[in-house]
């Protein structure tokens, strides 16, 4: 039985599953960076503490590290990325960026990016996770860019019109060859 409990970037579900479940091996909590590593910095009671109730085996193999990708499909494909940043700086508070939700990796990444590009003042737009279809506001051009993991945007990155672009520092196995 799958008990989806969305909210607070996954913290609600992690808290519910991690704290209230009977430790009999019948409950599995799918945690990730946002709920286990970021949550404690954002919420006073984030729920599952990292040092409790976790089985571990070779974190370097069992976990998969993923680079956040900045996608900006609505920005003209032939223009350099620097122009998008320049536009954001010239229009403070008018450029939105999407993320999977408040307190997620993509949210913190976007806010951190905005600070680095000060005074770009990007405005956060919370998408509904990275489930299929949640990123439609981005691909539909309602928001100019989003920070997202490759699994959530891989299908869009191979669009033939070439308007979906992504930037990251590491190659991802799910990343299209193009």
């Amino acid at each position: 039985m799958i008990d989806n409990r969305p909210g607070a970037g996954g913290t609600v579900g992690t808290k519910g599953g991690g704290e209230k479940a009977i430790p009999d091996g019948y409950t599995l909590v799918l945690g990730y960076t946002g709920t286990l590593a970021i949550g404690p910095s954002l919420y006073r009671n984030a729920g599952l503490r990292s040092a409790q109730g976790l089985c571990a085996d070779r974190p370097d193999r069992q976990t998969r590290r993923r680079t956040r990708w900045l996608v900006h499909p609505s920005f003209p494909a032939k223009k350099p990325f620097a122009e998008l940043i320049a536009y954001a700086k010239a229009n403070p508070g008018k450029v939105n960026f999407g993320s999977a939700g408040a307190g997620t990796v993509s949210h913190i990444t976007g806010e951190y990016f905005a600070r680095l590009r000060r005074p770009s003042q990007l405005v956060h737009y919370s998408l509904q996770g990275h489930r299929p279809g949640a990123d439609r506001p981005c691909w539909g051009g309602h928001i100019p860019m989003a920070f997202a993991p490759i699994p959530g945007v891989a299908s869009q990155l191979s669009r033939p019109d070439g308007c979906a672009r992504a930037r990251g520092d590491q190659h991802d196995p799910l990343q299209p060859a193009a």
Binding site: G17, G18, A21, P23, D24, G25, Y26, T27, L28, V29, L30, G31, Y32, T33, G34, L36, A37, I38, P40, S41, L42, Y43, R44, L48, S50, A51, Q52, G53, L54, C55, A56, D57, R58, P59, R61, Q62, T63, R64, R65, R66, T67, R68, G103, V105, H107, I108, T109, E111, Y112, A114, R115, L116, P149, I150, P151, G168, D169, Q170, D172, L174
Partner: protein
């Protein structure tokens, strides 16, 4: 300077009293099945069940400290 932000995800089995028993329980069996591995693999999740409960908490604690710095630098405030 190039900056790179990475993230990880993993299934955390909730076992407080007996990790080994839970590891061999129904969740452990499910994670070891080829069907589950294949399904999660499509999302980029790699499952390698094992029994090293001291490693993962230290790993997450390390990442928690790293992200605490990023959260502070991002300006996002605690709720």
């Amino acid at each position: 300077m190039r900056r790179c932000i990475t993230a990880w995800r993993r299934p955390a089995r909730h076992t407080a009293a007996d990790h080994r028993q839970a590891q061999q329980g129904p969740c452990g069996d499910a994670l070891a099945s080829g069907e589950v591995k294949k399904q999660l693999g499509q999302d980029g999740t790699e499952i390698t069940p094992g029994q090293r409960r001291k490693i993962m908490p230290a790993f997450i604690d390390q990442d928690e400290k790293k992200w605490a710095q990023l959260v502070k630098a991002s300006g996002v405030e605690q709720e």
